[in-house]
């Protein structure tokens, strides 16, 4: 690792200022992705602005509109333990990586990174979550812009994520056993105004919504409603863990399982 300075502000405003002071600075969440990246010298910031000492960015609370609000620096372990108002989300957090990763990794770090195989992007997109930053509120539909690409500007910090609580939801993750990320993960959420289905791990464009499955499930929320629906593997990730066609097949299988588990 190249060397860098570390600062630990205690307020969001101070973190934003630290980030704007230098163009080579970067936020540090739990470091579970960033530290390995720095070790590989894939990034060389001159300053890391730690978000771990900012109380206003931590914890789970209930929003006025019945949503579940999670501070951007809240760890996966805390979400697993405290997001009981949204059980499918708590269960998703409880199966990210391993216990030590969950004790450090944060929701803001995961969403900012937008790894094409990460779990939270699927949860946020399927739930129609709102990504709240120091500057604005971004709808999940506008936030994810392709693998490792998001609507965040330089120096913009995810301070909170708001999840409307669905009537029913479930996340099914087909684990890639070496990395513990999703080989394919499908998050299904049923709201009064329709069903949303978000898929991670499969597409070269990162997390995406499966419109045909959403339409079928909005009409009839049962696994049978998905019979005959399939996705093309042509634009899906093909690697040593599975071909695009294999991932496309898994998308349909895992969507059915998610509906069956949620129903």
């Amino acid at each position: 690792m190249y060397n860098f300075d570390v600062v630990k502000p205690e307020r969001i405003a101070d973190a934003v200022k630290e980030l704007s002071d230098s163009s080579e600075s970067q936020p540090l969440g739990g470091g579970q992705t960033l530290i390995p990246t720095l070790k590989q010298r894939l990034a060389s910031p001159d300053k890391l602005v730690s978000l771990s000492a900012i109380p206003e960015m931590k914890g789970v609370c209930a929003g006025d509109d019945g949503s579940v609000c999670i501070g951007g620096a809240t760890t996966h372990a805390t979400v697993a333990a405290e997001a009981s108002a949204y059980p499918a989300l708590a269960a998703t957090a409880a199966h990210i990586g391993d216990p030590a990763v969950r004790n450090r990794g944060t929701i803001g770090g995961s969403l900012a990174n937008n790894d094409p195989s990460a779990c939270y992007p699927a949860a946020a997109l399927a739930s129609g979550a709102t990504i709240v930053t120091n500057a604005r509120e971004i709808a999940a539909d506008d936030y994810f812009q392709g693998m490792f690409t998001t609507a965040l500007d330089e120096g913009e910090i995810i301070t909170e994520v708001r999840f409307p609580v669905p009537e029913k939801a479930n996340y099914q993750k087909f684990v890639q056993p070496a990395s513990r990320f999703a080989l394919v993960g499908v998050y299904v959420a049923k709201y009064a105004d329709g069903v949303r289905v978000a898929i991670t791990g499969a597409s070269n464009d990162g997390v995406f919504r499966w419109a045909e499955a959403e339409a079928a499930l909005s009409a009839n929320f049962s696994a049978d409603a998905l019979d005959g629906l399939s996705l093309s593997g042509d634009d899906m990730i093909s690697d040593l863990h599975g071909t695009g066609a294999y991932r496309a097949h898994l998308c349909a299988v895992m969507t059915k399982r998610a509906v069956a588990a949620a129903a």
Partner: protein, 161 residues
């Protein structure tokens, strides 16, 4: 260089670190607590697991500066002052839960975190909790058995050693 101070195994410890100094490096190279092993250095193997403020973390994936002011426990703090093994360590010995021993410090620290959270885990819960701890020798059975035994459960019916 910045000075960090923390409590390590109940004793005050401090030292000058760079921004990039990992907690694992600080423990091993500056405090000479080499019981915390670095296996992969890529956040995968769990040999480096220690507790920071009571929570299991991979010390190769945490900056020393992030642990400033924290309570840290390592494998060196597990045995009694007279060297007597704690119940988890003793169970690893009794049930042959180690061979080369490289993964063992991380396994014991993960097991301690698990039993604090869940004092009577099922076998499946033990296996799930150890997802981030890799062992190249034992095949895991005896590690799981040792942790079940350390939790005070009968392991007579579990797979043979």
């Amino acid at each position: 260089m910045t000075q960090v101070s923390m409590t390590v195994n109940g004793k005050a410890a401090s030292g000058d670190v760079e921004g990039r100094t990992l907690l694992s490096s600080f423990l091993r190279d500056q405090l000479h607590l080499t019981g915390t092993h670095v296996g992969c250095d890529t956040s995968q193997c769990g040999a480096c697991v220690v507790h920071v403020d009571g929570q299991a973390v991979k010390s190769c994936t945490m900056l020393a500066m992030e642990a400033d002011g924290s309570e840290v426990s390592t494998i060196e703090g597990q045995a009694g002052a007279d060297g007597s093994l704690n119940v988890i360590q003793q169970a690893f010995q009794d049930h042959h839960g180690l061979q080369c021993g490289f993964c063992t410090p991380g396994m014991v620290m993960s097991a301690a975190a698990l039993l604090k959270e869940n004092p009577k885990p099922s076998e499946a819960e033990v296996r799930a909790y150890l997802e981030g701890n890799i062992c190249r020798c034992t095949g895991y059975h005896n590690i799981v058995k040792a942790i079940m035994a350390a939790s005070g459960q009968d392991v007579g019916a579990m797979a043979a050693e």
